[in-house]
Amino acid sequence: MARKKHSQADVAGEVNQSGETPAGTGTPAESKPVGTPDKKPAKSSDVSAGNHPNKRVLVTGLGSFWGGRVAQALEADPAIEVIVGLDTVEPSVELERTEYVRVDANYSILARIVKATQVDTIVHSFLVVDPTQMSAKAMHEINVIGTMNLFAAASAPGSSVRNVLLKSSTAVYGCAPEDPVWFTEDTPRTRAPHRSIEKNLNAVEGYVGDFAEDNPHVNVTTMRFSNVIGDEIETPLTRVLKLPVVPSLLGFDPRFQFVHEDDVTRAILFALQNRLPGTYNVAGDGLLPWTEVAAICGKRTVPLPPFGTSLMAPGLRALGVDLPDEYMSLLKYGRGVDNRKLKDAGFRYEYTSAQAVQAFIERTRLKDIMAGGTEYKYERDVEQFFRQSPAVIRDSDG
């Protein structure tokens, strides 16, 4: 108990330093207490407008699911003056006032962009944590070299950056039989990392630590997201849960934790709004046995031999089961993280692990039925045309 209270006091204290309303004083409604859950972007005008500590925001990985969503949500806050988004690919979501800049994979031009735009906040959502997306080498280039360049830019003399948020993953904890059931932010790994993605994330978090130490005037938030689930995001786990039957490993029924994609966006916005210092796990309450995950999705599990999984990988991939090594060990041992630090800072989750899975499958089912409908797919060039071309006749009030 005492330990928990202590950490709570810590968070409140540090938040105070960053110029926020004092936490836990039962403040009246006109000021925004730290304990307030995040605002919905659309009605940011009611409380948080003008109170947002971040005015000029740079979002890396704009083309990624998270980057796009966070930028969308930030756009809705009029207090934020400038949003600049970087990526190697076009953003896939509808964006109104975010400025998109195409960059190379390792962000070598970042220093110039930061200097030119004088951003005060960087949201680094560019990290790739799904190893099926690219080769280890490409991943290293993006994750490690990209982050190095980002921090180099942010710590340049006279830099305007005051707040950095890094989107990491609970994969940094690894996955081994000797692991505790719940990892706290401070629990060390039980085995040294040997997979490229874990090495990447460890290196990246190392840079974060160095950066935070060298730049005490900059608030650094590291958010470690658990298995993200939702009908829009695609991860190796959502892919297998969409299959007619769900693979498992014979004799193993590990427990999984999930965080809903909406909670991910909300958590990022919450951390930005409150400039939370330090590292936070982001994961829904509760752990679910893998068989229960499948059962909530209304599916059966098909057990695979638990040994020699790497030999089966090519055959499985042909069947549509693309589970990288990291996920194979998750299917053996699972992983749980303690989400209480973020809760103690005032964040409230909308979904538990089980509810996240349920919401995912319900919306996925609906989507399958609606597929083939006339859903508008966002095209940046088209939107640009509607917004800016003199050929388009607009209403005077816009």
Binding site: G24, P33, K40, E350
Partner: protein, 302 residues
């Protein structure tokens, strides 16, 4: 206090969200503002935070009860020293090639005191298919200090641990009831940090239920197991002896709880104190075992 504030503004937010859900719908997909505790719980099974399932325990108790009562004829002494609420770390001597003490202790406390017992054990179980899953559903956990702290200090549970580790079951029959080293005293440190007492338990009987004759070190190494014994049971019963116990009479004695005169939640405790307590508890169990063995007339009838 922060929570009160959040609850207050929560209700405000809900009130507002009622009006403008329509115009927010096409922006980001914004959830309805319903929070996790207001949504229906989507769980299907009763597997808890730790992987333990009460339904599985009920089933296991039904299967194990005849073994407990008829085969080992387990007899307890001093069961009232185990609290009916609040956390406590149970510590016992460890024996038999496939330890028969852990199920007996867990079963006894669960049936008599009607409260769950979580067993901390070597993670070797967790990497075995089927066994690992069963072990977890029946209340087994990897012996990680974080697990013990959260169970004892925050959830006020009973946790059972064998500080000898695998050295207990691995020892040969001629060294029966000779307690090995109690690790590095980690169990004392955990109890101190969690602010709970250690309750020592002395178990007589398990040693004779599956005596180890000798170890096959090469086999153990090649299989990656902590030990691979040849037991008297294997010689007497053949393949059945791999799992079949001899019907030794079990006597379990709960000893006086040990409370620590140190504040909880410290990062580190004096090595001297930890080792002193650890040795004292080991000695307490050892002396109790000698006394019980002095009074034992028969291995099979007690």
């Amino acid at each position: 206090m922060a929570r009160d504030a959040s609850a207050k503004s929560e209700s405000q937010e809900n009130a507002i969200s009622g009006q403008d859900t329509t115009d927010s719908a096409d922006l980001v997909h914004v959830p309805s503002g319903e929070l996790a505790d207001e949504r229906p719980n989507a769980r299907i099974t009763d597997v808890d935070d730790w992987g333990r399932s009460e339904q599985m325990r009920v089933l296991a108790r039904r299967v194990y009860d005849p073994i407990y009562r008829r085969w080992f004829r387990v007899e307890w002494e001093g069961l009232e020293k185990i609290p009916t609420d609040g956390g406590a770390l149970l510590v016992a001597n460890h024996a038999a090639a496939i330890p028969s003490d852990a199920p007996a202790i867990m079963h006894g406390i669960e049936t008599e005191l009607e409260r769950p017992v979580y067993g901390l054990a070597d993670n070797i179980f967790r990497s075995m298919p089927v066994i690992g899953t069963m072990w977890s559903r029946l209340g087994g956990l990897p012996a990680h200090p974080d697990n013990a702290y959260r169970l004892l200090s925050e959830q006020n549970q009973l946790v059972l641990v064998f500080p000898e580790g695998s050295k207990g079951p691995a020892k040969p029959f001629h060294r029966r009831y000779q307690l090995g080293r109690f690790g590095r005293g980690g169990f004392v440190e955990i109890a101190m940090r969690s602010g709970v007492p250690v309750i020592p338990i002395a178990a007589v009987g398990p040693e004779e239920s599956m005596p180890t004759l000798f170890q096959m070190k090469g086999l153990a190494k090649s299989l990656g197991l902590p030990y691979a014994p040849v037991t008297a049971n294997m010689l007497a019963m053949g393949p059945l002896g791999i799992l079949g116990y001899f019907p030794a009479k079990f006597k379990l004695k709960v000893l006086d709880p040990v409370n620590f005169d140190v504040p909880p939640d410290r990062e580190r405790y004096s090595r001297f104190k930890v080792m002193e307590y650890s040795e004292a508890i080991r000695e307490q169990i050892q002396q109790a075992l000698y006394e019980m063995l002095r009074n034992r007339e028969s291995v099979w009838f007690g």
